[in-house]
């Protein structure tokens, strides 16, 4: 598609696009990239630091990437201090066997990108329960990234319909709809989110929570989009081809679907891309305070909840890395949105 080419042409678009592709690709194939299941508790490695990867051990004639085993001692503050146990060498193998999972939910397999056999490799360190943070980021990404997309898409869909109908018909319908939009927009979104969440029972299954969050986020976001689509619809309905369609006898519904809404898509596309960060942060926010995705399920938001104490951050800084992923994703979507907006600027007459 032309738009894709244009995005890749610009430097900012290129970077953003490929980083996002990389992220989404990794989380789609999360089980393949992850060496361990996301709920793999291992108390022996609680808050283990990221494992160092070595490439050369002349004594044991070990070439190629490998890790050492880990043991710990308890110091005078009753804290663990991890040390490497050079007696145990675990080479890193690729395409190795690991835990069983269903590839793309269809084929059962146990192949993973990499593994260390009996050893434990923590690329980005471990959390309180000894679970691999790298793995949990991958699995958590599935939730955080998908909620963003789906929520934004649903919002956009509702916004298109409401805005399109309201702008096209004008008059009392328009007045009434816009007042409702304004009421929704007035309420600070985060509090609205909390209120909506609180109106449902606290203990729901993880799938239910997932769907609920999507519904809540969509409910908050449609109003702003609807307003702008409505503005566009008002100016679009004065176009001669709309009058021509009316003169032909085309029904109002068909006119809106065929002749008005498609012309709002250039804006709509930019709007959806720029809203996704808000949804990702919304989910992260809910999960952070415990109202979103629950343990042992992972989401980038609830991964950060263990990072809420300054002591933990100081001692185990790697638990902040999920936050880094959130930041990178949000920045990339914003860059992508900006690039798209420049490309789709009506003055450039691309669409």
């Amino acid at each position: 598609m032309r738009i894709l080419k244009e995005i890749i042409n610009k430097k900012s678009g290129r970077i953003a696009f490929f980083v996002l592709i990389l992220l989404y690709f990794s989380v789609i194939f999360a089980p393949f990239f992850a060496p361990y299941p996301y709920d793999d508790d291992d108390v022996l490695h609680s808050y283990a630091p990221p494992t160092k990867i070595h490439f050369l051990n002349l004594k044991e004639k070990q070439f190629g990437p490998f890790i050492y085993g880990q043991t710990y001692e308890v110091n005078e503050y009753y804290q663990r201090v991890y040390q490497k146990d050079e007696s145990k060498i675990y080479p890193i193998k690729f395409f190795t066997k690991g835990f069983k999972y269903k590839f793309l939910g269809l084929w059962e397999t146990d192949r993973h990108l990499f593994g260390v056999g009996k050893g434990k490799i923590y690329l980005l360190g471990a959390d309180l329960k000894g679970r691999d943070i790298f793995t949990r980021i991958l699995y958590g990404g599935r939730i955080s990234l998908s909620i963003g997309l789906i929520g934004a898409a649903i919002s956009l869909f509702i916004g298109l319909i409401v805005g399109g109908l309201s702008g096209y018909f004008g008059g009392r319908v328009d007045n009434f709809t816009m007042r409702i939009c304004e009421m929704v927009m007035m309420i600070p979104s985060f509090y609205l989110m909390l209120a909506l969440r609180a109106s449902f029972p606290p203990n729901l299954s993880s799938t239910q929570v997932y769907l609920l969050i999507i519904v809540i986020l969509s409910f908050i976001g449609w109003a702003a989009t609807a307003r702008i689509i409505r503005g566009m619809a008002i100016s679009l309905r004065e176009n001669e081809y709309v009058y021509a369609a009316k003169a032909m006898g085309l029904s109002h519904f068909k006119i809106i679907i065929r002749h008005i809404l498609p012309h709002t898509l250039s804006y709509a596309l930019v709007a959806i891309v720029l809203r996704i960060p808000a949804y990702i942060l919304g989910e992260a926010g809910l999960s952070l305070i415990g109202l979103g995705i629950q343990e042992p399920e992972a989401s980038w938001g609830n991964l950060l909840s263990s990072a809420m104490g300054i002591v933990n951050i100081r001692l185990f800084p790697w638990i902040l890395i999920p936050g880094l992923f959130i930041v990178v994703t949000v920045v990339c979507f914003n860059m992508l949105g900006d690039t798209l907006r420049d490309i789709l600027d009506p003055k450039r007459r691309i669409l």
Binding site: A244, M248, H259
Partner: protein, 310 residues
């Protein structure tokens, strides 16, 4: 030989509210269209000619008055369907008249698919079945078939206007309104389109309502002329009489202006009653503040002006 009046308006009034003021776009308009003939509506910007076209099409609701089409009042909601089936329009700006996202084929197919084509299958037509109708429609306006797949921005203004004409004729309506169809076109293109319109009108015997500000252009195609100014009819009659013997001062000025002979004309000022042209008329009398009455000065040639005693 009197042609049947296919459409006529009775004291049509259309008012708009703009920034608190009432704008009388149509202020008691009586026009009629004779079947099979070209009736032209001449006037400058703001005279209400486009408003009249849109009111006939049902886009505006009149405050007062009726529009009788084939003995039915089409200002009533229940008769709206009659408009869609029998009255079509060609707009001034070709580049805005077609949805830029769709191919020419689709735009024409859309027109066909709403109502059954006269002489075609009675159900809503399928795309594949519509192809021969569309080909015929394109041939009528002298366009090649290979235009099917093209999109508006790939065509010239003249070609697009031909497509719009084809679209308006495809369901063989009894009346086609043409609102300044050549004003946005180049001279060479405009002259070809006018030739085409004259030819089609004769062949298909369709009634045309031709709207324009260009008196010279209207002379070529009209059988009947109405002169409009500020929402009111000033004068009307057969084309030859209007051009050889313009009666209303405004018509005379329009004619002079079209030959670049008009040197000076007062600016328009607001008016309270009577003739809207009062403030600019070089021949005004005290009578002109009263509402103008229609007078037949010669057979078929009517004027709304106090200068003439019927």
């Amino acid at each position: 030989m009197e042609n049947y009046k296919i459409l006529n308006t009775e004291n049509l009034k259309v008012h708009f509210l703009q920034k608190g003021k009432t704008i009388k776009a149509l202020d008691g308009v009586d026009v009629f269209l004779k079947k099979g003939l070209v009736t032209s509506l001449a006037g400058e910007s703001g005279c209400g000619k486009t408003t009249l076209a849109k009111t006939i099409l049902g886009f505006y609701q009149p405050k007062e008055g009726k529009i009788i089409f084939n003995d039915k009042d089409i200002t009533l909601k229940k008769n709206q369907k009659i408009i869609r089936e029998n009255i079509q329009i060609v707009f001034q700006n070709p580049f805005a008249s077609l949805d830029p996202r769709y191919s020419i084929f689709y735009s024409l197919y859309e027109a066909l698919s709403v109502f059954p084509a006269k002489g075609g299958p009675s159900k809503k037509i399928k795309k594949s079945e519509s192809i021969p109708f569309i080909k015929k429609a394109l041939a009528e306006v002298e366009l090649e078939e290979d235009i099917f797949e093209r999109v508006p921005h790939q065509l010239s203004g003249g070609q697009i206007q031909r497509v719009c004409i084809a679209r308006s004729l495809i369901n063989r309506p009894s009346l086609v309104i043409l609102d300044e169809p050549t004003s946005s076109l180049d001279v060479t293109t405009a002259s070809k389109i006018m030739k085409l319109l004259i030819k089609l009108q004769k062949e298909l015997e369709i009634t045309f309502l031709f709207i324009s500000h260009n008196l010279k252009l209207l002379k070529k195609i009209s059988h009947y002329c109405f002169i409009m100014y500020r929402g009111k009819i000033m004068e009307y009659g057969p084309r030859d009489l209007i051009y050889s013997n313009p009666l209303h001062p405004y018509t005379k000025l329009l004619k002079e202006a079209s030959e670049q002979k008009l040197k000076y004309l007062e600016e328009q000022k607001g008016y309270l009653s009577g003739c809207p042209f009062l403030s600019r008329c070089p021949l005004k009398k005290s009578d002109c503040e009263k509402e103008s009455v229609r007078k037949e000065v010669e057979p078929g040639h009517f004027v709304y002006c106090h200068l003439y005693k019927g």
